[in-house]
C-alpha cells in the first residue's frame, strides 16, 4: 500500500510541474497584472505603480518569477498574496477548510439521497416510484446550480417572512458565532451548510442514481446474489449487504477524482449563498490577478487529487478485499 501511494506521488510530480508551468504561462500571457485596477485610480501615480511593481516582483522576467516561486515552494512557502500581503497559505487555508466542510456535507447528503434511490430503482425497477424519482431528479439536473441557489434563497426568504423562523439563508455562521459554545458552533455551521449542500447534491443525484441503479440491476442478477438468496438470506440483506457493497465499488474508486472537481464545482453555489469557500476567493484572485494565490489554488486540486486517490485507494481496500492483496 505504501509503495503504491508513493508511486502515485511520483507519478504526480511531472503532472504537477507541467500544471504550474501552464498556469504561469497563461497568467503571463493574460493581459494586465495585479496592478491594472490601480491604474484606473485617479489617485495613484506612475511612481507609485512602479514602487508596487517592484514590491511584488512584477517587474522581473516571467521565468525568474516562476523559478523563484518554485524554489519557495520546495521550501514549503507558497509565496505572498498580493492583495492580502500575507502568506498565501494563511489566506487560502481557511477557505479550503470551509469548502471541505461544505463538500463533506454535500457528500453525506448526496449519498444519503442517491444510494437509497438507486437501490430502490433497481429493486423496484420500472415502478411508479422509480419513474417519478427519475423524472424529478432529471428535472433538477437541468437547473444550473446557481439558479437553484437563487430560487432557494428566495424560498427561504419567503418562508422566513411568512413564519418568522430563523432559517439560515446565506453565509456559513450566524452573528454571534464567536460567543457560542463549541457544540453550538458545530450546530450553527451545520445549519448553514445543509441548504447549500442540498442544492449541490440534488443536481447530481440523477446521474449517480441512474448509474448505481444499473450497477445494482447487474449485480442483482448476479450469481452470488442468487447464492445468497438460496441460503435464505432476507431480501433486505440481499440488497444492502450483498449487492450494494459490490455495486458501490466502482464509485469508490472514483471518489479520488471527485474531490478536486467538487471543490471547484461547489463554486457557483458558494458564490450565490455567499459561502466563504474557495471559489469566491478564487474568482477574486483571478480578477485581481493575484498570482500566487491563483497558483496555490491550482496546486490545491492536485494535492486533493492525491489525497482523494489515497482515500479512495484505502476505502477501496476496505470494501473490496480483492484490492488488498495486490
Amino acid at each position: 500500500m505504501f509503495t503504491f501511494l508513493l508511486r502515485r506521488l511520483l507519478n504526480l510530480l511531472p503532472t504537477f510541474l507541467l500544471a504550474t508551468i501552464l498556469v504561469f504561462a497563461i497568467i503571463q500571457l493574460a493581459p494586465g497584472d495585479f496592478l491594472t485596477p490601480a491604474k484606473l485610480n485617479p489617485g495613484i501615480s506612475q511612481q507609485q505603480l512602479d514602487n508596487l511593481a517592484a514590491q511584488f516582483g512584477l517587474n522581473k522576467p516571467a521565468w525568474q518569477q516562476y523559478f523563484q516561486w518554485l524554489w519557495n515552494l520546495l521550501h514549503g512557502n507558497l509565496g505572498l498574496s498580493f492583495s492580502y500581503t500575507q502568506p498565501v497559505l494563511d489566506v487560502a487555508w481557511p477557505r479550503v477548510v470551509n469548502s471541505i466542510k461544505l463538500v463533506l456535507v454535500y457528500l453525506v447528503l448526496f449519498y444519503a439521497i442517491s444510494i437509497p434511490l438507486g437501490v430502490y430503482g433497481a429493486v423496484r425497477q420500472y415502478s411508479i416510484g422509480d419513474r417519478v424519482s427519475g423524472v424529478v431528479f432529471y428535472f433538477l439536473l437541468g437547473f444550473p446550480s446557481f439558479f437553484i441557489a437563487l430560487l432557494t434563497i428566495f424560498g427561504i426568504l419567503k418562508l422566513r417572512q411568512a413564519t418568522g423562523w430563523n432559517i439560515p439563508m446565506i453565509g456559513m455562521t450566524s452573528d454571534g458565532y464567536d460567543q457560542m459554545s463549541a457544540l453550538g458552533k458545530i450546530w450553527d455551521t451545520l445549519k448553514h451548510l445543509i441548504i447549500p449542500g442540498l442544492v449541490l447534491a440534488v443536481g447530481d443525484v440523477a446521474g449517480f442514481t441512474r448509474v448505481l441503479r444499473g450497477q445494482m440491476l447487474e449485480y442483482l442478477r448476479g450469481d452470488f446474489v442468487r447464492t445468497a438468496r438460496s441460503k435464505g438470506v432476507p431480501e433486505f440483506s440481499v440488497v444492502y449487504k450483498h449487492t450494494l457493497r459490490n455495486a458501490i465499488i466502482p464509485f469508490v474508486a472514483g471518489i479520488g477524482g471527485l474531490l478536486p472537481t467538487l471543490i471547484g464545482g461547489a463554486g457557483f453555489v458558494e458564490v450565490v449563498f455567499a459561502y466563504p469557500g474557495i471559489t469566491p476567493m478564487l474568482l477574486d484572485a483571478i480578477a485581481s490577478q493575484d498570482f500566487y494565490l491563483v497558483a496555490a489554488f491550482s496546486i490545491l486540486p492536485m494535492v486533493l487529487l492525491f489525497i482523494g486517490n489515497a482515500i479512495s485507494d484505502i476505502l477501496l481496500a476496505v470494501i473490496d478485499p480483492r484490492i488488498r492483496f495486490n
Binding site: 493581459p31 428535472f139 437541468g142 444550473p144 439558479f147 437563487l150 478564487l282 483571478i286 491563483v294
Partner: protein, 373 residues
C-alpha cells in the same frame, strides 16, 4: 457431411446493431418522448427567426418597454365587439411609489396576424422577412413572454437563443469527442511513452481549476475575434478538459477490444494495424459514443449557462439561454416576484437537459446487450 442445419426460422430478419438498438429504443416510451422533443427543439431553433415575431435586438428608445409584461392575446374587442386576435398597446410608467414599471393599455389595439412581414433574417442562408405571427407594427408589438431589461421581446430572444444553446453544445461536444477519441486511441494504440504523455496531459488539464482556465483563456483571445467563436472554443476546451475521462475510457475500451478474439482473428488474417483500428476497434465504440455524446451535450448547455454566470458566456449581440437566465439571476429576487416570465429561458434549459438525459438513458439501455434477450 453432417446435415446442413437449418438456420433458425424465426428472427429471420437481418438486424444490425443499430436496428436492434432502435427496436429496443422505441420500446422505451420516456426516451422516445425525449427524442421527439429534442427534434422539435432543433426544428424550433432552425426556424427561430421565422417563429419569432420580432428581430433579436429590436427595442425602442422612445416608447420604452423595459420588462414589458406579457401581453394578453384577446380574441374579442370589447368596444367594437368584433372578433379577431389582437393585443393592446401598452404605455409604460414607473410607479414612483413602488418603483415598479407599470403598464396600462393605451386603448389602441393592434391585430395579430399570421405570416406578417417584419424584421429581415436568414434561415440556413435563405433571406426572409416573413414571421409566423406578429402585428407588423413596430410600435405595438406582441410580447408573448414579456420583455427583458432593454425592452426586447423575450419570446423572440428565447427563440434566437436556442440557436446558440442548442448548437454550441452539439458542436463543442462533437469536436471534443473527436479529440477525446483520437487521444484515447493514440494512447491505446501506441502505448508506451505516447500513452504516458497523453495521460499526463489529461491529468494536467483536469488538475487546473477549469474556472480559472476559462477566465484566463477568455482573455487570451484576440479582441476582434467573433465572440461566438470564442465561446465555442472555450466550450471545446472545457469539454476537452472534462473529456480526459473520455480519452481514458476510449483507451481502456480499445485496450479491451484489442484482446477480443475477433481482433486476434483479424490479426491472424494479416490485417494491418490501421485496418483493425478502423474496421474493428473504432466501430466497437460507436454505441458508447452515442450515449456519452447524448449525455455530454446537456452538460455543455449547463456549462454555457455557468459561463454566462461568470460573464464569459455568449455576449451581445448574441444570446443563449444561459445569458438570458443569467439576466434573470442578476435581477435577483425581483426576477422571481416582479417578472417571472424571465424564468422561461431557464425552463428551456431544464427541459432540453431533461430530454437529452432521457434520450441518453434510453440509448444506453438500447445499446446495452445485457438489457436485451
Amino acid at each position: 457431411m453432417t446435415a446442413i442445419p437449418a438456420p433458425p426460422k424465426t428472427n429471420a430478419r437481418a438486424q444490425s446493431q443499430m436496428q436492434v438498438a432502435w427496436g429496443q429504443f422505441r420500446k422505451n416510451r420516456l426516451a422516445t418522448i425525449g427524442g421527439i422533443f429534442i427534434i422539435l427543439l432543433y426544428v424550433m431553433a432552425i426556424f427561430a427567426p421565422f417563429i419569432a415575431p420580432d428581430g433579436l435586438s429590436n427595442y425602442s428608445t422612445t416608447a420604452t418597454t423595459r420588462y414589458h409584461e406579457p401581453t394578453p392575446l384577446h380574441i374579442r374587442d370589447p368596444k367594437t365587439g368584433r372578433y379577431g386576435l389582437f393585443v393592446d398597446k401598452f404605455a409604460q410608467t414607473m410607479n414612483p411609489d413602488t418603483f415598479l414599471q407599470e403598464f396600462r393599455p393605451t386603448g389602441e389595439r393592434c391585430p395579430v396576424r399570421l405570416f406578417v412581414r417584419g424584421d429581415t433574417y436568414r434561415i440556413l442562408g435563405i433571406p426572409g422577412n416573413l414571421h409566423l405571427f406578429g402585428t407588423g407594427n413596430p410600435d405595438c408589438k406582441v410580447f408573448l413572454w414579456g420583455a427583458e431589461g432593454l425592452g426586447r421581446d423575450l419570446f423572440t430572444r428565447t427563440m434566437y437563443a436556442s440557436q446558440i444553446s442548442l448548437s454550441i453544445g452539439v458542436l463543442a461536444v462533437f469536436i471534443s469527442t473527436i479529440i477525446g477519441v483520437v487521444m484515447g486511441a493514440l494512447a491505446a494504440f501506441f502505448g508506451g511513452w505516447v500513452d504516458n504523455v497523453i495521460n499526463r496531459l489529461v491529468e494536467v488539464i483536469s488538475a487546473i481549476p477549469y474556472l480559472f482556465l476559462l477566465i484566463l483563456l477568455r482573455s487570451l483571445f484576440p479582441q476582434d475575434a467573433n465572440p461566438i467563436l470564442v465561446l465555442f472554443l472555450l466550450l471545446v476546451i472545457l469539454a476537452f478538459i472534462s473529456w480526459g475521462g473520455l480519452a481514458r475510457t476510449v483507451r481502456s475500451q480499445l485496450l479491451s477490444v484489442r484482446e477480443q478474439d475477433y481482433v486476434t482473428a483479424a490479426y491472424s488474417l494479416g490485417s494491418s494495424q490501421s485496418r483493425i483500428m478502423l474496421r474493428h476497434m473504432i466501430p466497437s465504440m460507436t454505441s458508447y459514443l452515442i450515449v456519452t455524446l447524448s449525455l455530454a451535450i446537456p452538460g455543455t448547455i449547463l456549462t454555457e449557462s455557468g459561463l454566462s454566470f461568470l460573464g464569459i458566456g455568449a455576449v451581445e449581440p448574441y444570446v443563449s439561454w444561459g445569458t438570458l437566465l443569467n439576466q434573470t439571476q442578476d435581477g435577483g429576487i425581483a426576477s422571481i416576484t416582479d417578472r417571472p416570465w424571465m424564468l422561461i429561458p431557464g425552463f428551456f434549459i431544464v427541459f432540453t437537459v431533461m430530454c437529452y438525459q432521457l434520450l441518453g438513458d434510453g440509448l444506453r439501455d438500447a445499446f446495452d446487450p445485457r438489457k436485451r434477450q
